[in-house]
Subunit: 350 residues, 2 copies
């Protein structure tokens, strides 16, 4: 039998950047963030089921390219992601990403998706999920230190999932703050532009740090942080890149995604290898305690973990089924007879 068009088995749904953006608007940005947080929470609650492995990194003097695989036994997923701080100078993204889901039983891919946009959303959804659990009850004000690509997503996720009503913005570059403020206008948040980090932290129950330096930096010093806050530290996410003074870490109860990875990449790379850190999934499943007092500083030392990407891809897969925001991609060779790949090639000549 001659087959000239790819069969269904050959086709993998592909979500382009354009389709991803259409999908997000179709669902709504805040509803997407809530949906992602729900999927991430569901997967964190079955944490022990997952194959967990530290990311596979290829380092160069310019940056890093990583593969982040995981599996829940039924579905396999991985993300490709790069981190190149100098890219912005060339008008490129510091971080780009794409990801894939596959069926464990057959090994066949079932989804290929852009993940630059999706990673921004899942990172924010994860931060807000953690803050919903760990931040002081009734938190309404967030300080947003670092007003780059992640800042608007963080702000809207904290609004949608935690219920904050005000963000106080600060960046060493006032243009970044102005950009963030402009983007957040009309989104239902009180937005205050601040000229110092101290000013941004006035009255904030949640402090989010997300700056882009690839070096040991001190965005927050010890005397800037009062009792009872929740710190959401997402900028320190690779070896040599941290944002918080060690003294803050000493005063905080630290929560992490996957200690094996966070001790290499997170803020706690500054601390002893046995410095206490609670896995967040254990708080969700009541195996460990979260916030236990009003005076306590809780710190989410976030580096991003493969399971969050897996959850995000699951969310996208479930959403596109009905909405059609994908292209079928002719990615897999599917001969009529699996032993006859050469025959398939020959027939394509005709």
């Amino acid at each position: 039998m001659t087959k000239l068009l790819p069969s269904d088995k050959a086709l993998v749904p592909f979500v382009s950047v354009d389709h991803m953006m259409q999908l997000i608007h179709h669902i709504g940005v805040e509803e997407t963030l809530r949906g992602l947080a729900d999927y991430i929470e569901a997967d964190f609650k079955r944490w022990e089921l997952f194959d967990k492995t530290p990311r596979v990194a290829s380092h160069s003097d310019k940056g890093v390219i990583e593969l982040m695989p995981t599996s829940d036994g039924d579905v396999y997923g991985f993300k490709y992601v790069n981190g190149h701080p100098s890219n912005t100078k060339a008008g490129l993204q510091t971080v780009t990403a794409f990801g894939l889901l596959a069926d464990v039983a057959s090994g066949y891919p079932v989804l290929l998706s852009e993940m630059t946009m999706l990673t921004a959303l899942r990172t924010a959804a994860t931060s807000a999920l953690v803050a919903r659990v760990l931040a002081p009850k009734g938190s309404t004000v967030m300080a947003m230190i670092g007003n780059g690509a992640q800042s608007e997503f963080q702000s809207l996720a904290m609004k949608a999932i935690v219920g904050i009503t005000e963000v106080r913005l600060y960046d060493i570059d006032p243009a970044a703050t102005a950009k963030c403020a402009e983007n957040l206008a009309g989104q239902g948040l009180k937005v205050t532009q601040c000229t110092t980090a101290e000013d941004a932290m006035l009255g904030a129950q949640i402090i989010t740090t997300c700056t882009a330096d690839k070096q040991y930096a001190t965005i927050l010093t010890d005397n800037m942080v009062g009792a009872g806050v929740h710190i959401n530290a997402i900028g320190g996410d690779c070896p040599g890149k941290t944002e918080l003074a060690p003294a803050i870490l000493q005063r905080s109860d630290i929560f992490v995604e996957y200690p094996k990875q966070t001790r290499i990449e997170g803020e706690i790379q500054q601390m002893a290898p046995d410095h206490p850190a609670t896995e967040f999934w254990e708080v969700l499943t009541a195996k460990a305690k979260g916030r236990t007092s009003d005076k306590q500083i809780t710190l989410f030392d976030s580096v991003g973990f493969a399971i969050e990407d897996f959850s995000a891809l699951r969310f996208v897969r479930d959403q596109i089924a009905d909405t059609g925001f994908f292209h079928p991609l002719d990615l897999l060779a599917d001969p009529d007879d699996p032993r006859d790949l050469f025959g398939m090639l020959q027939r394509a000549k005709a």
Copy 2:
């Protein structure tokens, strides 16, 4: 500035299965095999330059999904590949694959390609490259044991690169042999269908084994193999899957791609961890000896290595530039201002 269409920076060339087949026919199957062998040889000769890491495998009771990354410092590549022997029952491929190249300096992907078809070609090109160096000079006859998806590619690669003129086919399933013979008709090879493995090996200087059992099998027993031949063993390629009797390995000089991987996945998993095995790149660079006598049995214990996929993707990237056999894929988010991913999302709403 409103940007509604993806920019050049957002677009990654994608080679579909259909485009791959068109490209192969445009170049010619044998010329493609020769081109791939040249690229693989060039990369084997600069072997020490590469980041080498064993593949990252996710095993299940049905099969395995693997990521195979490597980098030469300028270009990064990885392949996604599955191995699911029971897939054929469901009319699916045992092995499907796709791959990617990226620019190390920026982390941006520069090529996404199907690799089911391409892997079949690069595996055959590697086998033939090795046989060109190790098989007896003037080899003209190959026994092809196992007449599945790889058999025609092996036969044509040995013709194009080594100069064989006859293949002698054997498979436990006569239908597979008939399929292979039919596909090879008119390709310039004398094709002989055999009813036993012993018959297939009559007069053969090269013996290729490529069967699909996922278990310790003995496709070749010791008394079947005479002196002076070259064995190209490509079917034993994962833990628990071998094809040759240990006694043959004892009598052979064994050549491998990457010992760390081959000792886990190849025929030599049956041998002691320190059983001698020569890295083939060392033969190409004259650091080690290849065939030294007419009586010697040389054995290429092939499992497939990431660098071969890297070479194959480089070949495809160089070929599609002029021929246009690709689609531009909107895989990367590319905002005007890299810090303004949210602004890009907002503008997509309009």
